[in-house]
């Protein structure tokens, strides 16, 4: 009889332990179920907020587009009439009047550039920019841009060095946009390099892609600002010369243009030594259609 009562006791203990284990399991199940539900809800909230963000983004792009167009019209009219004044059509001008008119013209031009940049940015953000790909000799293209900008560089006694390694390097790209990329970067370099400084434009063949860089001997950019450099309307305290008020959009646009080509762009800089903007462009992107020879066309465009 003793054995049976011992066994019964043990059974009671085991049953109790089992019940406790089951209760514990129930608690864990409850916790997991609640967590699951909460995660699902938070996920939906995230999706909703995302959708709203996209709508706002689209609204902003549309607004930017419309405003840019609206602003251009009166600006064009202003330019027309100011040029009539400059050409002395309504009557002769004295020296002071000519001076004032020059100031007006340069500011109209600056406003026009800003509006164009804004329009560029909004079009790119709206995904409405398409590349017109063709065979481009990037060496010729770069030579063209450099000779175009040599006048500005000479004004500050800045030498533009070319390190090209080869006389011809063909890639499939949008001619005008690559010209814009080089122009933006070299213009920036000229702006931020002090008198007597150096700018170096390098192009190298990296097999599947070409790597280009534009480096200067300006004040440089601090490391923590490397990422911000390509954001819209960022203008750093890099000391620049007179007449160098940019739009703050140049680099943002340049980055978009490089990435449209499926390339990459980044910056490297050392405070006090200088800055280098480096970008890559793939030679060919699969699925490209028409390839027209454009090597010489590039040089002609620059004249």
């Amino acid at each position: 009889m003793n054995n049976i009562s011992l066994l019964t006791e043990e059974l009671k203990v085991v049953k109790e332990a089992l019940r406790e284990a089951k209760d514990e399991l129930d608690v864990q199940m409850w916790g997991l179920k609640k967590t699951n539900e909460a995660i699902k809800i938070l996920y939906k909230e995230l999706a909703d907020k995302n959708k709203r963000l996209q709508e706002l983004d689209q609204l902003k792009s549309d607004f930017l587009s419309m405003v840019s167009h609206e602003l251009r019209t009166p600006l064009a009219i202003m330019k027309e009439f100011v040029l009539l004044l400059w050409d002395e059509i309504p009557g002769k001008l004295n020296t002071e009047q000519k001076e004032y008119i020059l100031t007006i013209i340069s500011n109209i031009d600056r406003l026009a550039r800003l509006i164009n940049d804004l329009l560029d940015v909004s079009k790119m953000e709206a995904g409405k920019v398409e590349l017109k790909r063709m065979a481009v000799n990037i060496i010729d293209l770069a030579e063209g841009v450099v000779s175009n900008l040599k006048v500005e560089a000479d004004k500050k006694n800045i030498a533009i060095n070319k390190v090209f390694g080869t006389p011809a390097l063909e890639i499939s790209a949008d001619l005008d946009k690559v010209i814009q990329i080089f122009t933006n970067l070299i213009n920036n370099a000229i702006k931020f390099t002090p008198e007597g400084g150096q700018i170096t434009v390098k192009i190298s063949d990296k097999g599947q892609e070409v790597e280009c860089s534009v480096s200067d001997t300006g004040v440089g950019i601090p490391r923590e600002d490397f990422d911000k450099v390509f954001t819209k309307f960022q203008q750093f305290n890099r000391t620049a010369g007179a007449g160098s008020k940019g739009t703050g959009l140049g680099l943002a646009i340049t980055k978009e243009l490089v990435e449209l080509h499926k390339g990459k762009i980044w910056v490297d800089s050392e405070a006090g030594k200088g800055t280098a903007f480096i970008f890559t462009l793939p030679k060919v992107v699969l699925g490209t259609a028409k390839n027209k020879g454009a090597g010489d066309e590039a040089k002609d465009k620059m004249k």
Binding site: V27, Q28, W30, G31, L32, K34, T35, E37, A38, I39, I41, L42, E45
Partner: protein
Amino acid sequence: MGKKILIVEDNDDDLLITKRYLNKAGYDEIVSAGNVAEGVKKAIDEKPDLVITDTLLPDSNGFVVCSKVREVYGKENPKIIIITGSVDAVDAVKARRVGADDYCAKTSDCAPLLEAVKKLI
């Protein structure tokens, strides 16, 4: 609806949002507390039908609120909901252990909270 709700929450914006949504859903009697000590005191003084508490509080946490209230009132009433901005399975289990009736995520429309409230009171 005649039911009294106590909200223990230290973030003023969150408190405002929760109050507004509860009011909209027809719950007019709402009292609030900004920390655990005040929360437990108000739970004892105001005798709410439901306590909603955030997990993170300046002097302690919502689980302490829950277990202290259960200590005073027992397992059945008031109903207690623990809400959180950072959902965590370990917290959820803890909530059940200290005797909470539900564990909800904080969302900008308070939908999960309102659903839980409706079910409990």
